[in-house]
Symmetry: C2
Subunit: 135 residues, 2 copies
DNA sequence: CTGCATGCAAAATATTTGCAACAGC
DNA sequence: GCTGTTGCAAATATTTTGCATGCAG
């Protein structure tokens, strides 16, 4: 039985095709906006409404199956929690997104925790600047 | 003569009350969304339209007089470029925003530059996580 | 059966654009 | 006066909400 089914059942919620499809799409796409998830889901199940995508992403986030980051503009980008964590380096000039080993931030995370009691969510970080090509 | 006037004149653009008011408001407010800037400007100049705020913020950003960061949700927050730089620590639970000395990221910035040629924009960074009270 | 989930339409937000009137230089 | 600017309204884009129908358990 899938993890999704169990998590849902534990809360008295239901396993629906839409919920499976949305989770699959997020996992398959890696990074995706609600819009993109919708497009991917609709390929397999034509009638699914964008509203359901939003509601399902919110639910999956509550269940800690996915998270989202804000890259560049308001566009929220969802991805699988179990996917290998990575930091996003976003170029403000060409908008390219590089990924970075999260260990790079371990030192900073430790420092923030000690100095401020602030527990940084490493997988939720996006750093902005200029990439090598644009400088 | 103000810096704003010079920058505008160099580009063949005009100094208008609206532009002065928007820049003043951003400087006075420290952090502010377009909405908040609008509210502040309207106190002194009733008729100014929200559209003009958006257009002016975009212009001021091109002139490198202001920048913006994305705290929490899509809400862009504008602030004076010359203001003392600071990092934002955003709590995902209570949404409180702490400020942090940018020097904290100097090590990371250096590392990214050397490893990736990526020139991080320190003033543009927001880090997410849980603050001391919420952990 | 019962209540959660979905689709649809409409509302609420946020931001952008076309265009005519206006104003800085 | 010429051309950049603004205000207004409308168009877009994005996300949320109300409600009746539908379906998982």
């Amino acid at each position: 039985m899938s993890e999704l089914a169990n998590l849902l059942r534990d809360r008295g919620l239901r396993l629906t095709p839409q919920r499976q499809l949305v989770l699959d799409a997020v996992r398959r796409l890696g990074h995706a906006t609600p819009e993109q998830v919708h497009a991917a889901v609709v390929e397999h199940a034509a009638g699914v409404n964008i509203t359901t995508i939003y509601r399902t992403l919110e639910l999956l986030e509550e269940l800690d199956l996915v998270t989202h980051v804000h890259l560049s503009h308001g566009a929220p980008t969802y991805h699988d929690v179990n996917e290998e964590q990575h930091i996003h380096l976003v170029c403000r000039s060409c908008n390219a997104v590089q990924e970075l080993d999260p260990a790079t931030l371990d030192g900073l995370a430790k420092q923030l925790l000690e100095q401020r009691g602030f527990q940084m969510d490493i997988s939720h970080v996006a750093l902005f600047g200029l990439c090598g090509r644009c400088t």
